[in-house]
């Protein structure tokens, strides 16, 4: 595994109008990264290609969230997730991620994941950060199973799935939502 940078604790402010886009194989190895991805992460395209996506994993992130994400997309379900990523410089950035799942037209087997990420708003980060901190603490003192259970309980209390919980928190509304959709299709 590649040596990850040491976190600086400094946040990179993202342009809320831009998407960080990548395509990976089913194991999470990067096949494609767009310009904004390289700009924000500080890795150039050649460094990213062929590298597992977890090169960007921030040590503050609870494993339970990645388990949730992988479980979902592996079963062909898109998921909106909030993630804190680690740039090459050690700085971090918060994003909301969305997936396109590509399947082999003949076999129907999942072939690739395309992830579209946008800046997570302050409001979302303020809500999520304490939850992730708790999950991470549980993981460190116990294990991921325990933090996963905690997360499940937390969501049950709210009567929501994670996906729904995040969508409620993060979804752009009204005109903004229309523009984001249009932008994804924009050439």
């Amino acid at each position: 595994m590649t040596q990850r940078p040491t976190p600086t604790g400094k946040e990179i402010r993202l342009d809320s109008k831009k998407h960080i886009v990548s395509k990976t194989d089913t194991k999470g190895n990067i096949l494609y990264a767009n310009d904004y991805f390289t700009e924000v992460s500080g890795y150039n395209k050649s460094e990213l290609i062929g590298t597992p996506h977890n090169i960007l994993r921030h040590p503050d992130m609870p494993k339970a969230i990645f388990k949730l994400m992988w479980d979902s997309i592996k079963s062909n379900q898109n998921i909106t997730a909030v993630v804190k990523n680690l740039a090459k410089s050690g700085d971090h950035y918060w994003i909301v991620t969305d997936f396109d799942i590509q399947k082999d037209p003949n076999t129907g087997a999942i072939k690739n994941y395309i992830a579209y990420r946008q800046a997570a708003s302050k409001k979302v980060v303020e809500k999520i950060e304490p939850l992730y901190k708790t999950l991470k603490e549980i993981e460190d003192k116990h294990d991921m199973e325990a933090s996963f259970e905690y997360l499940t309980g937390y969501l049950q209390e709210k009567n929501m799935g994670y996906h729904q919980f995040i969508e409620e928190l993060a979804k752009p509304t009204g005109m903004a939502a229309m523009f984001f959709e249009a932008m994804k299709k924009l050439f």
């Binding site: 395509k23 096949l31 494609y32 050649s46 395309i114 924009l186 050439f187």
Partner: protein, 126 residues
């Protein structure tokens, strides 16, 4: 020019499928020119075997040139630092990001002269 583009081009043509492709060509004196190239497949009337390929070349506008040359530069870098396969994957990723097939993309390039005004305006919004 990235090898990826020629790989895609010949794979398509040998399967008997026409295609459109942007190519930067080199003249004898070392200058270059960008050509929007449409290639047709000609078959033998009786045996249906592929006989010839006919290419029609037209100029492209600056907007398309800028977009394509940036893309080709990136694909070429990936190809050189990794492999031809990585170059092909990268190109497909670029198209997937835009949710376009290769043919849709070429069509957009071909039509970009007309769309340029609208696209530029939309891009400025974001």
């Amino acid at each position: 020019m990235p090898k990826t583009i020629f790989k895609i081009l010949w794979d398509r043509l040998h399967r008997g499928l026409p295609l459109k492709v942007v190519i930067q060509n080199l003249t004898k004196c070392g200058n270059h020119y960008w050509a929007f190239t449409s290639i047709e497949v000609k078959r033998d009337r009786d045996t249906k075997e592929i006989r010839n390929f006919i290419a029609y070349r037209a100029p492209i506008n600056n907007h398309a040139k800028e977009l394509i040359s940036t893309l080709y530069r990136q694909v070429k870098e990936v190809e050189e630092k990794h492999s031809l396969e990585a170059g092909i994957n990268f190109l497909h990723g670029f198209l997937d990001e835009k949710r376009l097939s290769y043919d849709d993309f070429m069509e957009k390039i071909e039509n970009s002269a007309n769309e340029r005004g609208i696209l530029a305006k939309l891009k400025n919004i974001f």
